[in-house]
Homo-oligomer: 168 residues x 2
DNA sequence: TTGTCTGCAAACACTTTGCACTTTT
DNA sequence: AAAAGTGCAAAGTGTTTGCAGACAA
């Protein structure tokens, strides 16, 4: 991701903070910086796990000042954060799950079918294979998603707290 | 794709046909072989592309004898076919898409974001990587899914008929 | 002031379920 | 006859939308 690098003077932010980047994103599109959007980026940026819309909504309600945003606004803002390149969206068990994508290296996931936990990993080899396969099919790869499903160590040994079962 | 090969005598089916396998699956669970289930396996087995529940439903209606199954029955039977190991399910753009899994080699997909087409490929190297990554994380891999998104040759060159846009 | 954003309620797409009736065994 | 399956209509789930009032620029 080309970020912003000015070599010459003063405030050299090699990379904008996620907040800044989002505000820039909004401004360049004539969108407004509202209380809700500010709350949401703030919250999202201070929690680094994977989450879904519902969890974000709850998280906002539990905030010290109790300020919230409505469900539609949460969905709308999540979409903007994805557009802005701050979040990455993936679909798991029928619902959208988000993770940070700004300043984070490309990676993939191990998904435990017992406790639904996600473990990240990355593999350069994988990217190589991806590009090789794509070009072999006259395909222009824009990205990929690899999810390895199975059982994590905890779930394999029996002691685990199985969570929601995949609906889809 | 290896379906039925007989070496020695008479009808030695080293592998059952998909229909047989499904019937066995049903019988061993005290489930019944109904008109609808028969229609559905039959139809599914005679079409080798990826499809979703709605397409199957339509396909059944267009059948010469016009016999159908209801939407709930289609969904119920698809789930059974997945359990029986005949179909594999994946989620794309917010809906479940099915493909044959019985007697078919493990493979992954290129997904064109222009025309939504799916191209299959397989890579042994990928499976190697999968297993290496899994064991490195004390994870027991049960399977994986790799989807490489991008643009196919047709869509890249502009002339394409863009279809449904991803909802999710 | 202007035009965007929000929240509400309602709509959506896809999938699942409760239940009375039909079918297979 | 008994048990399982079907279809209908209705309920679910996660997400999106139309619109009037609220708010940022």
């Amino acid at each position: 991701m080309p970020l912003t690098s000015d070599f010459s003077l003063g405030k050299v932010d090699v990379a904008m903070t996620p907040r800044e980047r989002f505000e820039e994103f909004l401004q360049t599109r004539g969108k407004r910086i509202t209380r809700q959007r500010r709350m949401i980026v703030e919250h999202v940026c201070s929690h680094h796990e994977h989450f879904d819309a519902e969890q974000l909504l709850e998280g906002l309600r539990k905030t010290p000042d109790g300020a919230t945003a409505s469900r539609p606004t949460v969905y709308r803002t999540l979409a903007e954060l994805v557009d802005a390149g701050l979040l990455r969206k993936m679909v798991l068990g029928g619902r959208a799950v988000y993770e940070h994508d700004y300043g984070y290296p490309q990676h993939d996931h191990l998904h435990c079918s017992g406790c639904q936990s996600l473990i990240e990993f990355s593999s350069d080899e994988l990217v190589r294979i991806r590009d090789a396969v794509a070009s072999r099919h006259q395909f222009r790869a824009q990205g990929h998603r690899l999810i390895i499903t199975g059982l994590c160590a905890a779930c394999r040994s029996g002691r685990s707290k199985p969570r929601v079962q995949d609906r889809i």
